[in-house]
């Protein structure tokens, strides 16, 4: 025991607040779950891109406007930007120690990631609805 008065307290009291960052479990898990989801999604995307001949606009539109391709493309965009953004966050935190620059970069990457993910998703939806 560290001092006599604390021997009736649990070890939790000493552990609390002593972690390096005090958070991060959720981030860690989200990085893994998105990685797991990207595994089949990536195989689907690569398989589609090489097997279909997507030379012309019409072929591309026809492919993407089927409910299954549309759904999977939207999922791919959503999950990959989420996973990428989580990953970039770790890289920024590792290399940028200036707290102002770090926070700015983290906010900027979040904004750009979700802006682009939404742009892609809206584009897929537009392709689907225009082909109806």
């Amino acid at each position: 025991m560290i001092d006599g008065s604390s021997q009736f307290r649990s070890h939790l009291r000493h552990a609390r607040g002593m972690g390096s960052a005090k958070e991060g479990t959720h981030h860690w898990l989200a990085q893994r779950v998105t990685a797991l989801a990207l595994l089949p999604l990536t195989f689907w995307l690569v398989f589609s891109l090489v097997t279909l001949s997507l030379e012309g606009h019409l072929e591309f539109i026809t492919w993407l406007s089927s409910p299954i391709s549309g759904t999977l493309m939207i999922l791919f965009l959503l999950v990959s930007f989420h996973h990428g953004q989580l990953g970039i966050q770790v890289v920024v935190e590792d290399y940028i120690s200036n707290i102002t620059i770090r926070r700015t970069l983290l906010i900027v990457t979040k904004f750009i990631s979700y802006l682009l993910a939404t742009l892609g998703i809206v584009s897929v939806l537009r392709i689907i609805f225009e082909s109806l």
């Binding site: 990685a35 090489v50 606009h57 965009l77 990959s80 990953g87 742009l119 892609g120 392709i127």
Partner: protein, 129 residues
């Protein structure tokens, strides 16, 4: 003078990176590159939503040698990151931590990503071959 063979602590400028360390930093480099890659994918889908003209303009870039180079780089990064990502997930559930298995995984990751890249480009260019 006899050079003593004693272990040196790692120093960035004189240290010969072991393969495992090289593959580890490659996961990070490919991860960041892939994020740029999905920006390109988004713009491609966006161009298709805008219309035929915009789509053709984008395809023009992709078919230009620089575009092809970018696509090739994207595929290499994707397969490497995917294969090494699977290894990461095994590590995360507490498997394959000893040196022997780690080295075996090093070569498995390298080999599989090369094979996957060759396969995909073989199928993508099958009409030209």
């Amino acid at each position: 003078m006899k050079i003593p063979h004693r272990p040196l602590s790692p120093h960035l400028q004189v240290y010969n990176l072991p393969l495992t360390a090289l593959l580890s930093i490659s996961h990070r480099i490919t991860g960041v590159s892939l994020t740029l890659g999905i920006v390109l994918l988004t713009l491609w889908v966006f161009s298709a939503a805008l219309g035929e003209e915009e789509y053709n303009l984008f395809s023009l870039f992709l078919n230009f040698w620089l575009g092809k180079l970018v696509l090739f780089g994207f595929s290499v990064a994707l397969f490497y990151h995917l294969c090494n990502g699977i290894r990461h997930l095994f590590w995360d559930i507490g498997m394959n931590f000893d040196l022997k298995k780690t080295m075996l995984a090093d070569y498995t990751v390298l080999f599989s990503s090369i094979i996957l890249t060759i396969l995909v480009w073989f199928f993508a260019l099958r009409d030209l071959i």
